[in-house]
């Protein structure tokens, strides 16, 4: 699988290319927030509160006169970090359990039942309950999101493992004298990369939305940390006076989540042999 070639193939669909560019812009703006804007995200200037987008404040200011662009850019760091950590955590743990459940039949039933039980809770409710118990902090939000998304990954990975396990090259590897651990790690796991990659991009998108929702409901990140969710939550009562305060962070959430979803779709279409002809 040569990456440049497959990337070219994926970007043949214009929308996937647009999504990738949008995502790149969002990541770069967050990463180089101090270059993008001269303002500090927490500097208040009451005289300039609720000012419209202008040359001085490109996206305007919020109810405390904080520069919105600065808050969105720096807030992106937190939002993206939380989502990335949640996605990474759930992918790693979910893959581990999914592999074990799919490969060792004896452990399949216990793991799968726990996964089913966890998935029977509505996602956001479980996260709310967890953060409510653990207390609002960035780490607890990450922890709650990992717990919510791990079962999804485990289920997908288990299903794929069941398929790959039966392929002849696994038996061939055994016939060469490869140990069980090595077969799992070296022969099966690399063959699961495509579903895992697709899941990762989707979970990243879900986690951005979920973090925003949690913060909006007040059971997410503490309000003094600027994330896109806390921005929408904190400013909602001023929305009828100054729509831009909730509009711009909302747009940031939508663009990022949508781009990730589209990118995930693109990866899935690229890797799914049944859809190859339509590309």
């Amino acid at each position: 699988m040569k990456l440049p070639l497959s990337l070219k193939k994926m970007f043949r669909r214009r929308i996937v290319l647009v999504a990738a560019v949008c995502l790149l812009v969002v990541v770069l703006v967050s990463l180089f927030a101090h270059v993008v804007t001269a303002y500090d995200p927490n500097d208040t200037a009451v005289s300039e509160r609720l000012s419209r987008p202008s040359a001085a404040h490109i996206l305007g200011t919020d109810e405390l006169g904080r520069d919105l662009l600065a808050r969105i850019a720096f807030g992106g760091r937190y939002s993206l970090t939380i989502a990335a950590l949640a996605a990474t955590g759930s992918i790693v743990i979910g893959t581990l359990f999914g592999l074990v459940a799919g490969f060792f039949r004896r452990l399949d039933a216990p793991i799968s039942r726990v996964v089913d039980a966890m998935m029977s809770f509505p996602d956001i409710l479980l996260a709310i309950a967890l953060v409510a118990i653990l207390g609002p902090s960035m780490l607890n939000v990450v922890f709650a999101l990992v717990l919510v998304y791990t079962p999804r990954v485990a289920r997908v990975v288990r299903a794929s493992t069941l398929v790959v396990r039966e392929l002849l090259f696994v038996e061939a590897a055994r016939a060469v004298g490869v140990s069980t651990f090595r077969i799992l790690w070296r022969h099966i796991l690399p063959n699961l990369m495509s579903p895992i990659l697709v899941q990762a991009s989707f979970i990243f998108a879900y986690a951005i939305l979920a973090e925003a929702a949690l913060s909006f409901l007040g059971v997410g990140v503490p309000p003094d940390i600027p994330t896109w969710g806390t921005m929408v939550a904190g400013s909602q009562q001023y929305a009828h006076q100054a729509l831009w305060i909730v509009l711009f962070p909302g747009v940031a959430i939508i663009i990022t989540a949508l781009s990730l979803q589209l990118l995930g779709d693109g990866i899935r279409d690229l890797l799914d042999p049944r859809l190859k002809k339509s590309m």
Partner: protein
């Protein structure tokens, strides 16, 4: 085939592999299915023993049992002995070895090639890496040395531009090339016994001949033994030294290859040979000479189907399909009758001379 009338477990009579009374059965929801029952055969050093039979006769289960590669989750019962004489000259029972010792033998002393070259290679690794894995595992070579050796193995199996192919992925190769890679993989550690499970069945006829020729060449060069599993009697005639014919999980006849083809003793073997188009031509020619031209020639086929392993016939498993069946055939499964010349057949019509085993 070597006659074994003595039953002392430790003497393997200079054989490389001596399988005795091997039985494998699976427990399913419908009951216990005896997939392989009381199978005995042996493989001489540097020689090829062919295991012949139709689909479902237990050939592949036999080979997987020997390699201890049956799915561990399937409820399987294995009985019997598989005495393997290793490189040091010690005789070990493959069925009793601890898993770690077995892993050291797999791919090292005993290698295996499979029927489906399209799926027996891992799609995400280069073929060089896959050959190198075996070498790193068993010969403790480092990565660079193993890859260099992998390239040498590809040259050995006559893959053109081996230096370039070593870095390619399985999907870039044709079926014949992949089977060569599988052979290179199997041969990498210099095995003393190669189990080939229908290695050419999935290939074009022209490629088949090349692959068989290659395997024959490698065998003469290395002196390895081969267990050749196939349903292709033409291949058996050209490449095997000894033949064991399986039907419904049991060996029905075993003999040196010449004897078997010249004078098949079991009705099933006779039927199989009669199914060959070349035999058909011969028979038709002699008939025409005798009776004048007759209608369109038809290929011979053994009538009926293999009986279900869940409800086997009371007597001989082949009796329902046998044209020579007599009344005694239905009463009991006949034993394997040994002859003076080292041949044996599981049929009450064959003359019995020495003793009856099982």
């Amino acid at each position: 085939m070597t006659t074994r009338s003595s039953s002392s477990p430790e003497s393997s009579l200079g054989l490389r592999l001596d399988v005795r009374h091997l039985s494998t059965s699976f427990t399913t929801d419908e009951g216990v299915i005896p997939s392989v029952a009381d199978v005995s055969f042996s493989i001489r050093p540097g020689k090829t023993t062919a295991l012949v039979g139709e689909s479902g006769s237990g050939k592949s289960v036999t080979s997987l049992t020997l390699m201890r590669l049956l799915p561990r989750t399937a409820a399987t019962q294995v009985a019997g002995q598989a005495l393997y004489t290793n490189a040091k000259g010690d005789t070990v029972d493959l069925l009793q070895l601890p898993e770690a010792a077995m892993r050291a033998i797999r791919g090292n002393e005993i290698a295996m090639i499979f029927q489906e070259p399209m799926t027996s290679l891992n799609p995400v690794f280069t073929i060089g890496e896959q050959i190198a894995e075996s070498l790193r595992l068993h010969k403790k070579l480092d990565r660079a040395a193993a890859l260099a050796e992998a390239r040498r193995m590809l040259e050995l199996v006559e893959i053109p531009a081996a230096a370039q192919r070593v870095g390619e992925y399985p999907h870039q190769l044709s079926g014949g090339m992949r089977q060569r890679v599988m052979i290179a993989l199997a041969m990498a550690c210099g095995p003393r016994l190669l189990i080939a499970d229908e290695p050419t069945t999935a290939l074009d006829v022209t490629i088949q001949a090349q692959i068989l020729q290659l395997m024959g060449r490698l065998q003469t060069e290395t002196g390895m033994s081969m267990l050749f599993i196939t349903h292709n009697l033409g291949v058996v005639a050209h490449h095997a030294d000894d033949v064991a014919v399986m039907y419904s999980g049991r060996i029905v006849e075993s003999a040196p290859v010449r004897g078997l083809f010249a004078q098949p003793r079991h009705p099933y073997t006779q039927g199989l040979l009669a199914c060959l188009p070349s035999q058909q031509r011969k028979r038709a020619a002699s008939n025409e000479a005798r009776e004048g031209p007759i209608g369109p020639r038809r290929l011979f086929a053994i009538r009926g189907q293999v009986s279900s392993p869940l409800s086997p016939p009371p007597g001989c498993a082949f009796e329902p399909r046998c044209d020579q069946a007599i009344s005694g055939c239905q009463s009991a499964m006949p034993g394997l009758r040994l002859d003076d010349d080292g041949r044996s057949a599981r049929c009450i019509l064959t003359p019995q001379s020495v003793s009856e085993v099982s």
